[in-house]
Every structure is written in C-alpha cells, then in structure tokens.
C-alpha cells in the first residue's frame, strides 16, 4: 500500500505542517510518497527527502505550480494519483483549497480535518465546531484526507534518505492568476506551530492597545500572537491572526487569552492547548470554563504587571 502526502511549502522551504500530515500517513501505514509541486522548488524536495519515514519524493517543478493555484495543483495530483490508497494534505489554506477538487475529480468523498486514525478506512474528525467527534468509515477506493495538524505530532525532519523523482508537469489550465499576496511579516513564530500564543480579544479596545499591551508580553514569552474573531472583525489585527472554528486551529503548550470572552467558535480553535490562561474582567466569561488558570482583573493593569514579572 502506498500513500501520497502533498507537501506544504513556499518554493524555498518545507512547511512544518507537512510533518504532521506525514505523521498521520505513518499511522495509517504503508510506503509514504511526498509530492512537491512548485516552481524552483528543488530545495524543498531535498528537505522532504530527509524527513523520517518518507520512501519517495516526487517533484513537479514548473512555473505554473509556483503559486499553488487549486486548478493546476489538483489536476497534477489527479494525474499522478494512480496506485495510491490514500492522498493526504495538511488542513492549511492550500490543502483545504485543493484537496476537495482532487476528491471530486476522483469521484470519492473527502474526509476533512482528521484528528485521529482508527484504521486504514476509519478516522475521527471534529464536527459542530469541535462540540462532537465523529468516527467515519470510508467505502471509497481512494481516501482523500486533510489532516488537522494539532492532532498528530510532527515526524522528525531529518533521518530519512528518500529517492527524489521528477514528474512531468501537466498543462497550465490558465484559469486563475495570482495578482498579489500581502503576507503579514513577523519575526515571531508562526501561529500554527508556536509553543506559546498570546491572544487578544474585543476587550483590548483598539488595535493600538492590542499592539502596545500584547507585543511586550509576546516578546518576553517568545510567543506567537493570535486574536479572537471579534478583534479581527473590529480591525484590531489582520485576518491571519484569527484563532477559531473558521480561523486557525492551534494547540500550543501555553495559550494566554486576554480580553477574550470565549465564544464556542473561539474555543473550537484553542481548547486542545496544554495550558490555558485567561485574563478577563468579567468573572462569568465562558473562557474561564476551559482555563487552567484564570485571573479576573482589568487587563490594562495586569498585562503590564505580567510583563514586568516575567
């Protein structure tokens, strides 16, 4: 049995989410192949070949894969799908955008955001914003799966020595063209992979307060910065800060929720964190129901105190 994992990368380096998807593939069992589709992505292929447990890396290097548009990427995956029992990708914005197309073209169901593998056909996935866990069994010949990265510990990035095999590129379908990308530039850890996250909500009051109060704390803790939907909708921070059902799903060692009331949609994105700290002036805020340590206080007073105490 062979499995194909779609590599997440930016043409320069392999993204950590790929290691979680490979981990899920390893739980299913079989020969793990990694598909790297990109433009000038040779370095990514070399990194993928070193990942523990990878048997083969297949590389499609062409200009029209550089931007990872779903139309071209899904056509390439489908053209090279034969022989695989499972096709997996991390549930990132690229994985979520592309894999349902692959499933439809193969006429199979997709199993979204699995958090656990029962056997080669059976998987556990959260539904209703994580308020229920469904165990589902697929009857399809090929299982197309996106992997929630927080459900699987990353495999080691080194220790492997896989063969790298070039793939011939498919035609450029020319249906979508990238105009621009505005990526948030930050020296902080990536939200999805951070060990500590400092997150702010509506209680911050303004974008200025958010940055003025939370950045020193994030600096002290070496933390990534997140936010609730309310803070994003209010324009305090950009969309890619959002943690929740429809934003990023995170599970750091420490999650510090500041001025976040704790709507179920937010809890869905962070309740698997190892330790949760909540700071909120409302003692009845639902966030305290999931927090290991709650501090009922005015965040404008205690956040600077916390920075000073660390």
């Amino acid at each position: 049995m062979s499995l194909l994992v779609i590599a997440e990368h930016d043409n320069a380096s392999l993204k950590a989410a790929t290691l979680n998807a490979i981990s899920a593939a390893a739980k299913i069992g079989g020969d793990i192949h990694v598909l790297v589709a990109g433009s000038g992505c040779g370095a990514v292929a070399e990194q993928a070949a070193k990942v523990a447990g990878v048997a083969k890396v297949r590389v499609a290097d062409a200009a029209h894969y550089g931007d990872q548009t779903a139309e071209n990427l899904s056509a390439l995956i489908v053209a090279n799908a034969s022989g695989y029992s499972h096709i997996l990708a991390p549930a990132t914005s690229i994985g979520k955008n592309t894999l349902p197309r692959v499933a439809a073209l193969l006429d199979v169901a997709q199993i979204s955001e699995i958090i656990s593998v029962i056997d080669a056909d059976t998987f556990v996935r959260p539904i209703y914003a994580g308020n229920a866990m469904a165990t589902v069994k697929s009857a399809d010949a090929v299982k197309v799966i996106t992997v929630r990265t927080t459900g699987f510990d990353a495999v080691a990035a080194t220790g492997g020595n896989a063969a790298v095999e070039p793939l011939s590129a498919g035609a450029d379908l020319g249906q979508a063209k990238l105009v621009s990308r505005e990526l948030t530039k930050s020296a902080r850890p990536e939200l999805g992979a951070a060990k500590i996250i400092v997150s702010g909500g509506r209680g911050m009051g303004s974008g200025e307060n958010y940055h003025k109060l939370l950045e020193p704390l994030a600096d002290k803790l070496g933390a990534a910065m997140g936010a609730s939907r309310a803070a994003v909708d209010a324009g305090f921070v950009p969309n890619d800060y959002q943690v929740g059902q429809t934003g990023k799903i995170v599970a750091p060692q420490l999650y510090v929720a500041i001025g976040i009331s704790g709507a179920i949609q937010h809890l869905a994105g962070m309740k698997d964190s190892k330790v949760i700290v909540a700071i909120n002036k409302d003692p009845d805020a639902p966030i305290f129901q999931v927090a290991d340590y709650g501090l009922v206080a005015d965040l404008f007073t205690v956040v600077p105190e916390l920075v000073a105490a660390l």
């Binding site: 779903a70 197309r101 692959v102 439809a104 229920a132 105009v179 990308r181 990526l183 660390l310």
Partner: protein
C-alpha cells in the same frame, strides 16, 4: 449575468450542540435551525452585485429536506429572485451536494456561483471546491472581496499568512469568508414578498444524480471535557503557577 447561491439549512449558530445518548449523531429535535451563516454572506454578496448592476438575476438553491424551503424563503427575503429545492430525505454529503448543484448549474447556466466556505454543522469545507472541479470551473475560496470585470473576477482571499488576490476567469465559484460583507436583515415587507416568489422543487432522480453517502458515520461522541481550573488572585500567583506547577515557562 445570473448568479446561483447554494444555501444550507443548519443548526442555528447560537444553539448549544448536544450529542445523542446512543452516539448516532447530534440531537436536532426541536432545535432552532437557520441558514448557514457563511451562506447568508453569499446571498448578501450576490444581492450587492445585482444592486451594483453586475448581475441580472439571483437564484437560491438548497438540497435536502422539505424544511429547507424555509431557508430558501429566507434567501428570497434577503432578495433572491427565485429558488430551487432539490428535495430528498437521504443524508447528503458534500460530494452528493456538489453533483446536485453541478446538475442545477448546467440547466441554469450561471456565470457565478457564490456559496459559504463551510457549513457550521459538518465543518467539511468541500462543496464549493468539489463543484468547481465537477464543472471544470475556476475557484476562489475564502473570499473577503469580490470585484466582477469583463469575463473575469478579481477576488481577495483570506489565506494562512495574510491575503492573496486572484484573477479568475468566469464562469467561476466563489466561497465566502466572514469578512466579505455584513448581511442585511430581511425586512417584514420583504419577508412577505418572499412568500410569493417562485420556489421550484425537483428530486435528485430528475437531475440524474446518485446521492448515496460515501462515508458511514460509525459513532458520534462528546469531545473530551476540559474542566475549569482555578482562579488565581494576582499576577504573582499566576506566574508562580506557570513556572512551578504547569512548568510551561522557565
């Protein structure tokens, strides 16, 4: 240009979800149902394009039980001109819905299909992408801005690291993210008007689509409970706990 807007009837987003004791699913008896919030954003976006002179007709579509007629009436109260219900009692999974919608699209010939990026019940995030694949159309998922041009659309998408803007050829599929717009409330006169708008009912067999589920639900369980911890008195106590009890900071 005609716009098709698929809408799904789901548990209202304010309702606390309860898993059934026998582990077969979630209790939906006597629970408030509403239009999937992302689909509401889709209807609103279609209306704005129509009001901006970019679209001539907005057609809402839903697939599922007879009760989905309510959801379609809501879409028409927001402003959709007419609607189509693909009626079935079978549990519909995303691939089946995408096939039904593809069949409807082939009959209706829209240039644009706008739908929610995911439904808040099964959280699949698949239908739009599958529909685009089945029709061989381009797609722009997780949209936060849509501008229609001549034979193309320019769509800004919310992606992991920030935003990206794509130019896609029409016909196309757009799936909505939260910040695309803020849906209007349907006014009473419009709710009354919606009752008189045309609602066509078809069956999956009329469209030649096999809707049999591909995934069997083995069980549905409560997630592991996270119990509330303790309240600490002050910052010093918090830092002490994090250092010496939880040991998550040095």
């Amino acid at each position: 240009m005609k716009i098709l807007v698929p809408v799904k009837r789901v548990i209202d987003y304010n309702v606390k979800v309860r898993v059934k004791a026998d582990g077969t699913g979630v209790d939906l008896a006597n629970v408030k149902m509403s239009m999937n919030p992302f689909d509401e954003i889709a209807v609103e976006e279609a209306m704005r394009l129509k009001e901006g002179g970019k679209a001539s007709e907005v057609v809402a579509v839903s697939c599922g039980l007879t009760a989905c007629q309510e959801t379609l009436r809501t879409a028409m109260a927001i402003g959709a001109d007419r609607s189509i219900l693909v009626e079935t009692d079978v549990e519909l999974q995303p691939l089946a819905v995408a096939k039904l919608l593809a069949a409807v699209a082939k009959k209706e010939g829209p240039q644009l299909i706008i739908l929610g990026k995911q439904a808040i019940d099964d959280d699949s995030n698949q239908t739009g992408q599958m529909l685009a694949a089945l029709l061989g159309w381009s797609q722009a998922t997780f949209a936060s801005k849509v501008v229609i041009g001549e034979g193309k659309a320019t769509v800004t998408r919310e992606i992991d690291g920030g935003l990206e803007t794509l130019e896609i050829s029409l016909p196309a599929i757009v799936t909505t993210d939260l910040r695309l717009n803020e849906p209007r409330y349907a006014t009473l006169p419009n709710i009354m008007k919606a009752k008189k708008k045309p609602l066509e009912v078809v069956k999956p067999a009329d469209l030649g689509v096999d809707v049999a589920p591909r995934l069997a639900t083995v069980s549905v369980a409560e997630p592991p409970k996270r119990s509330a911890g303790i309240k600490v008195a002050d910052v010093a106590a918090l830092v002490d706990k994090l250092k010496n009890e939880a040991k998550v900071i040095a």
